[in-house]
């Protein structure tokens, strides 16, 4: 990886994080939405202790997936405002550097939301979520989600119906990562054997590698007019 390529990736990530720290538009939307989803679950489902531990993984990943979609949409919409996407495409670097820069910042936003949602859920439902394995699965699932989400949001941002189109494109594609993340998280929460969890973790790893490689290869075509 050349220095200019790495510098371009870091420049895109730096730009996104700096702009977001200043405006807080994207993070606040994701956070408010996540808290609302948790509250809806809390009031809609009166759960006993046993049921609670069974649905925790699903409830968490539904929250992450919906909040993540909001973030992905906004992150690419910022590039479309004021023609900034053209500004990025005019830069003489391999366009996959733009993808990796955007994916890194999207991952940072998602992890920031998760860092708040996990303790909040833990307090609301009195469930311990701080197992190293569960945190690892959260990271792997988030990597897979943002790898695909960044690619598809670059595709959908070119259309007039981008807000609607992204979840329609994204959710079918992330079913494997979603199912694997829920199963692996549930396994850690319910004290399952490592041998039961490892196939789901492997699926997450393979999914992450495949979609990062696919995005690297096709982003140039996806982003072009």
């Amino acid at each position: 990886m050349s220095t200019s390529y790495l510098r371009a990736i870091l420049a895109v990530t730096w730009k996104d994080l700096t702009a977001e720290l200043r405006s807080r538009e994207l993070l606040s939307a994701m956070l408010v939405f996540s808290v609302l989803v948790l509250l809806i679950f809390y009031f809609a489902l009166e759960l006993d202790v046993q049921t609670r531990s069974e649905i925790t993984a699903g409830a968490l990943w539904v929250t992450f997936a919906f909040a993540g979609t909001l973030g992905l949409n906004r992150s690419m919409a910022i590039e479309k405002d004021r023609g900034c996407l053209d500004g990025l495409l005019l830069v003489p670097v391999d366009r996959s550097a733009i993808y990796f820069g955007k994916a890194l910042s999207n991952l940072a936003f998602m992890l920031a939301v998760e860092a708040i949602v996990l303790p909040l859920y833990s307090i609301m439902y009195n469930v311990n979520l701080f197992y190293p394995g569960l945190l690892g699965v959260t990271l792997l699932g988030s990597v897979g989600y943002t790898a695909v989400g960044t690619l598809l949001s670059a595709m959908s941002v070119q259309t007039r119906t981008r807000d609607v189109l992204l979840p329609i494109l994204l959710f079918p594609v992330i079913i494997p990562v979603f199912v694997a993340a829920v199963k692996a998280s549930g396994g850690f929460l319910n004290g399952a054997e490592w041998s039961e969890i490892i196939p789901w973790v492997n699926i997450l790893l393979v999914y992450d590698v495949i979609f990062i490689a696919v995005a690297f290869m096709v982003f140039d075509f996806v982003i072009e007019e």
């Binding site: 200043r22 900034c84 500004g87």
Partner: protein, 235 residues
């Protein structure tokens, strides 16, 4: 000396619609060409192809000695583009915007270069202000600063005066003259014939997807641009 921009039989098709129909176009190094034409003539489409933002359907395009779209990275390194949108981030300051683009282009001695550019566009005192607080005219001046940051040989301006008031347009005139005076090759689309006449050394009229007429400032001396433009569209 080979031309800075050389376009041969360029065709651009969107679905069944031919926007550019076998367009031929050449610009010598250091020329300032005003590309005139009515709405829908294909000016923006043509500039987007020159900027490597859109692929030609047919034909050959060379910019700064490199073929498009095959050598688009080499072309982008030597190209500066200003459109009616500023291509700037509203939540970053003027300085941060230039830092970002400077890093992307790998500009050496970036801080010194940023200072030079901000001085050139008259925004040194506003360097730490957020771009979203800038007037349209200031944003457009900073957009020119962004476009010249990496010292390109060829500059493309797509309707740079859109939405500017009289004062801001006059200020942009002087910035554009500075840009052209540095010996750069400039192609500018515009509906504003008076401004084009003041700035350009050659005037091309794009109509129905081809260059309908072309005249240099020297040849135009005893005529006026409006008459030439109307005749070109009528013919």
């Amino acid at each position: 000396m080979s031309p800075s921009i050389e376009v041969t039989r360029l065709v651009k098709r969107f679905g069944l619609k031919n926007v550019l129909r076998g367009l031929d176009f050449q610009v010598q190094s250091g020329e300032f060409v005003a590309l005139l034409g009515p709405n829908g003539a294909g000016k923006t489409t043509f500039l987007r192809i020159l900027a490597s933002l859109s692929r030609p359907t047919l034909g050959q395009v060379r910019v700064a000695g490199h073929r498009l779209p095959e050598q688009s990275a080499a072309v982008r390194r030597r190209l500066g583009v200003v459109s009616h949108l500023p291509l700037l981030y509203g939540d970053l300051t003027a300085e941060e915007n230039l830092q970002f683009y400077g890093r992307m282009y790998g500009v050496p001695n970036l801080n010194v270069r940023i200072q030079e550019v901000l001085d050139m566009v008259g925004l040194s005192t506003r360097r730490r202000d957020l771009v979203r607080t800038f007037s349209r005219g200031m944003q457009q001046r900073l957009a020119i600063g962004r476009a010249v940051l990496h010292d390109p040989d060829v500059m493309l301006f797509d309707e740079p005066y859109t939405g500017l008031d009289q004062d801001a347009s006059e200020m942009l005139d002087s910035v554009l003259k500075n840009v052209a005076a540095a010996g750069r090759t400039v192609v500018m689309t515009s509906h504003d014939l008076a401004r084009a006449e003041d700035l350009a050394t050659r005037f091309d009229v794009l109509s129905r997807g081809v260059i309908a007429a072309s005249v240099t400032r020297t040849d135009l001396q005893n005529s006026n641009l409006l008459t030439f433009y109307k005749q070109a569209l009528a013919g």
